[in-house]
Amino acid sequence: MLSSIATALGDHAHRTSLSTTREYRVEGSRGALERRDLLMDRLVDYRAHVVQCDNASLSTTINQLLLVHGSRSVAMPADVPATWTDSLEAHVHRDDPVLSVTDLDEIDSTVSGCAVAIAQTGTIILDSGVHQGRRALSLIPDHLIVVIFDEQIVEVVPEGVARLAPDSAQTWISGPSATSDIELERIEGVHGPRTLDVIVVSSATEL
Amino acid sequence: MRVALFITCVNDGLFPNTPQAVVEVLERLGHQVVFPTQQTCCGQMHLNAGYRQEGLHLAQRFRDVFNDYDVIVSPSASCVGTVRDLYATSARSLGDEVLADDLEEVGRRTYEFSEFLTDVLHVTDVGASFHHTVAYHPTCHSLRVLGLDEAPKELLRHVEGLTLVEIAHEDECCGFGGMFSIKNSDTSVAMGQDKLAHVRATGADVLCALDNSCLTHIGGLASRARSGLAMMHVAEILASREGASHV
């Protein structure tokens, strides 16, 4: 098969090379506060629910969201710190030992950190890394809470792509699951979590 | 300026008023118009239908007939698009780079009538008068091949007494498409009927465009519907002194 490709292409002398200049926008122009506002704005536009808090009140904020959702159980990546869990009333299931698919299907919510968030598109990217754990955690329970720290927010897509390790298993999330397959009317909540809560954590002075 | 007129086969055969209007306007503006009598069809239909060799015979003729003229003007965006774009592409597709260069050269001297007025003569008011409500249909060739968007509308806006109305979804194809109207006549008519409906919804008395070919298509459907809508090429409106308040 390769021979037919190579034959189709002819010799190397005529082949184009890749330009290194990027004429499109590669970085944002907004400051940190504006970026955060833009991200929250875009998330709300997708009908994700967004709250802000500071480091000290992260656990109580998570707890509040779980209560509002009526969750009695929550799955967490194995490495989340105690500062996230110490105020939680729901039963916490850390993913160690690994939670089975059946276990996860019975758990009400998941809490996860993220790798990077892109403000312009309202995109949260999980890369199975620190405080995020396996992809199944953020997929099976019906309620997902994602924790984003200010310094994880970039403005435009190229900045986001540059921060990611290519060989990590990633999930890019931009709102709850949706479909437009029925008469092109956008409906939320097909497979995957139907409720998405986002907590944006800032240092106290910036709130 | 000495301007060579490229009349086009459709106009020559069916709409002689249009090129006559072009002459009238250009002479009114003080230019000399000449008509090289050896001209023929530009070959657009042949090239678009896939008959490259035949179409390029006509392209070569065009190049030869218009060889001695600095400026060639035509009241057909589709023919000008053919000369400027399709000619060289077709020649290149057969590996004839020399012919392609020649054809690109003549293309650089060829202008659609309204773009000639606005971009070369830098004129938007040609002293016309036409007291009617007019809708303008941007033909696909004029809009997407030649990039003419605001310029023709500017010319119409400067016509005394003319009320210009906008057609909803104006940039949608009318469905003529040359060969398309023959090979896919059902779809062509469906598109034309939708276009006609949008035009009629404006309440205009007259529909104008830069291509008579599109106007034959919409006009045919309009007359079968007994709509009372008149079809006119933009050049004819620009030549009109009807009801002029000054001589």
């Binding site: 090379s17 792509v161 298993a169 931009s174 437009s180 497979h191 | 678009n48 490259r52 997407r144 469906a190």
Partner: protein
Amino acid sequence: MSKVFDTELPFPTLAKTALADAQLRANLAHATTTIRDKRLKVVGELDDWEQLRSAGAAIKDYSLDHLDELCVELERNVIAHGGIVHWARDAKEANEIVVSLVQATGVDSVVKVKSMATAEIELNVALEQHGITAYETDLAELIVQLGDDLPSHILVPAIHKNRSQIRQIFIDEMGKSGLAAPEGLTNDPAALAAAARAHLRQRFLSAKVAISGANFVIADTGSLVVVESEGNGRMCLTLPETLISVVGIEKILPNWQSLEVFMQLLPRSSTGERMNPYTSIFTGATTGNGPSNFHLVLIDNGRSSALAEDTGRDVLRCIRCSACLNVCPVYERTGGHTYGNPYPGPIGAVLVPQLRRGERTPLENSLPYASSLCGACYVACPVKIDIPKILVRLRSEVVDATRASARPRTPRDESRREGLFVSSALPTRHCHGWAGRAPAAAEPAFLTAAAQQVERGSRCATSAGDVISHVVRSDTPRRCRPGTRAGHSTCTADPPP
């Protein structure tokens, strides 16, 4: 049962029927105008949209120009991450490979993520013939499958159905293959989506084998990118033990950074959103975090033939966004079935005749003429494929084929193809055969023999022998041969030392 396109009627004949279907036309008009407006809005937000389009076209052109090298690099990186790579010259080979892989797992059903490539090769039919049921999980594909119907659009395949029609399909058919539709199901889209969720959930949680395509595959990392909205992709790509991804070779991007361009071009052009709800990116096998068995099946199926064309090869830039469909006045009025194959609309009219070069049925001959050449598709295309120009070029091929012989044609008529190239006088750079390219030292003898055969043939492009189905390098691990069970002792996917 899976239905496939099997008409050979020409476009104008099929169009006549479609144009008379008032329900279809109403559905299409509503759908295409809605999505058109959405696209314009989000594209208008970006002041660098034209630069992104240019970059997208340039990156794709580079990839196509270096496709042979990138294929090799991709394979190396996928294997390095525990995946297995298979090569399929055509649909038949691809189906044989996938069927064998599924049989090796012992299951009799698989879950599928929507994939144009698998529709193109008619994979579901091949699986069925071997007693394997392929359950579509994308909502629109589910609707089409339950309704024993054909897809009519690349992105929203059930667009020709309205909510009442979908409700009826769910009520009539869901119970036959799984959880039935709930009592009193209304035609409210939210209720219909909820019914689909319930019907598919158990399937997702228990599936052992999934089949997907990919929107992009990245050569320098070996990563696959799957763009979706509903979450069915995530389910299929994360939960089963075995994942088989079928991908056309033209989907290869050179490097990770290219995603910064395409993850802007694709969502805005396809669904008219700033970003689609879910995108999954993974590399190779993701044991402990996804399927521990990953197979990548790369298909040619006519793509290298299109690659040889100087004008027509631009169709291989296509990222399957369907923006062209949504702006096409012909598609809007005739719908997707009229094009007679899984790729409808403007891109279908230029892609299909090139992928199926040599099979001049009345349908394929009519596709290049199924356009008024209005150019709206070219304006909308995120990778700047000049579709009108390619249509005109394909028309000249239809005409030239008629010139070359007056006798009736048969498919794969080699002398006729030669006539085409002689009369077309392709630029010489595409007429170099394998001659002058020394095979790598590690290549086995049959590969060298293949190269010599091609050189003797000394013809352009599409007549190249296709004599090898995959490249076996002595320095890469032996992959599982189809038919063996996973876990066989010779089937390792260890990285090279």
